[in-house]
Amino acid sequence: MGQVLEVSNIHKAFGGIKAVNGVSFAVQEGEILGIIGPNGCGKSTLFNCILGQLEPSEGSVKLDGRDVTGMRPSDLNRLGVSRTFQLLQVFPELSVRENLILAGQEHEGTMLSRFFGRRDAGLSEKADTMIGFFKLGHLVDAKAGGLSYGQQKLLDAAMAFMAGPRLVLLDEPAGGVNLTMLGDLKERLRAINAEQGATFVVIEHNMDFVMSLCTRVVVLAEGKVLAEGTPAEVRANPQVVEAYLGH
């Protein structure tokens, strides 16, 4: 089992406020890693630093041993790192299928082939398969903006998987999703993890969701790593209980 992602000593400050203050962790191939922590502990900022949306003030990010610190999000994505956002991020004016084709089209061919080639970039079937997998088959041609919140959340996740990524970072996938949908989502994620061997990092508030999905959990507090271990170990850690789980 190789190491997919290695994050070392990431710092990020906004003005005088240190949002992330020296975070290090590693992600092993095939695992589902959870990152938890109270509001404002720097989870999203950490994500954005890893994914090139923000430039870290200090520290490095390595993908398969290669330094990708500060690399542009689009390039990182084409190396196989995919993500979802805390707030919903689908393209409302495009249909469900178009959303998925978009998520895959930049991973194949060249700019020229994308201009002169097929307009679906040969991805229609793959998109339909993915849509079926996420149980949105009846909505293939609907505009994404017209879907329910939970459906959009599923679409959002589906887009992250469209290009067959090595590593997927999910930012609060369970936020605002109702219980039935939540079950669906968890089941889908597990299935992809099992079938495609995809590796996950999940930021989540919903404790039950994280504890039942993840194989390992990193706890952040005030921009630093507070604890790390299996769900059971973390649950038993007194520091964590005090800082986060306690209330």
């Binding site: 393209f91 084709i101 089209q105 700019m111 041609d141």
Partner: protein, 336 residues
């Protein structure tokens, strides 16, 4: 009319996976070209000129529509790019005796390259810096056109710009040249239609709706943004290359900053992000003064007010209004 096809019907038909499937927009383009081919009958030279001018402006607006409507960038230099194309064509054909077709291609290449050079540093920072840089560029170009009299004729302009010929047919007459403009406009519009339907078009739209998400899906936002701006600028260059022989005289005034603003307003009036919007926008901008002869110079106020009201009531412009009307008629849940 046609607008629903660009978004609704076309999107839905994509599932058929027919790369060359014909949609409403293309049908409208073909029909429009056919009608315009015969339209000037009995209109006189002036009427024909206005029709041709409308099409030429439509090309420039089409380019800006790509920049603004599809990629969401504010360019304040579309008229300046048009000027570059017009002067390049005028100088190459009248002073160097170059063939118009070569001059046309050079005009497009030149404006495309300048667009890249201009866009690269600006888009590195933030999208709205493109507006600042193009504003400066627009005025600088205008100054050069005016000051370098040895080359551009300065304030006195360039006259006696020759019209092209097709095969061995001379296109000096108003009607012949109009038909030539119709054909060139059709080709350029069809090329844009193809691009918008290709994966590029999808990337452009993703860029406009949510650039951050698009980047996280592997869309090279900088590359596509630059391309949209450079291609949009090249269309202005093409428009300029037709404008010069159409008017047979150019001076710096139609390429000023305020003209660039005016072109932006045309994009919005017609419906930004709709392939056929530019034709409607340019119609309002170019032909409206003809319809509003009665009110004299008030036409500018009328035009600007129409744009304002559209922006308040329906930011998708006239195309958006038509789409809404269509949705109502067909009973579909339309509008946004």
């Amino acid at each position: 009319m046609t607008a629903p096809a660009t978004h609704g019907a076309a999107t839905e038909r994509r599932g058929l996976a027919l790369p060359s499937s014909i949609d409403g927009t293309l049908v409208t383009l073909v029909l429009g070209a056919a009608i315009l081919w015969f339209a000037p009958a009995g209109m006189g030279r002036y009427g024909t000129y206005v029709l041709s001018l409308w099409l030429v402006m439509s090309i420039a607006v089409m380019g800006l529509n790509l920049t603004l409507g599809y990629a969401g960038l504010k360019s304040l230099a579309q008229a300046a790019f048009m000027g570059l194309g017009a002067y390049a064509t005028a100088l190459l054909t009248s002073k160097l005796g170059l063939n118009w077709y070569a001059a046309f291609a050079i005009s497009g290449l030149l404006t495309f390259a300048v667009g890249l050079v201009l866009g690269f540093p600006a888009l590195r920072v933030q999208a709205h810096y493109l507006a600042f840089v193009t504003l400066a560029f627009s005025t600088l170009i205008w100054l050069i056109l005016r000051n370098e009299q040895w080359l551009t004729g300065g304030v006195f302009g360039l006259s006696n710009i020759p019209r092209p010929s097709f095969l061995s047919v001379k296109l000096d007459g108003a009607l012949e040249f109009h038909r030539f403009v119709v054909v060139v406009t059709f080709i350029l519009a069809a090329a844009l239609w193809w691009m918008i339907r290709s994966p590029w078009g999808r990337a452009f739209m993703a860029l406009r709706e949510n650039p951050v998400r698009a980047a996280s899906l592997g869309v090279d936002t900088r590359m596509y943004t630059l391309l949209a701006f450079a291609i949009g600028s090249a269309y202005a260059g093409f428009a300029g290359a037709l404008y010069a022989p159409l008017v047979e005289f150019i001076d710096p005034s139609p390429f000023s900053l305020s003209q660039s603003f005016f072109l932006l307003l045309m994009v919005v009036a017609g419906g930004s992000g709709y392939l056929l919007g530019p034709f409607i926008g340019a119609l309002l901008g170019v032909v409206l003064p003809e319809w509003l002869r009665v009110v004299g110079s008030l036409y500018l106020i009328v035009f600007a007010t129409i744009v304002m009201l559209l922006l308040i009531a329906c930011p998708q412009g006239v195309s958006g209004l038509i789409e809404r009307g269509w949705a109502k008629l067909t009973g579909k849940a339309g509008g946004r």
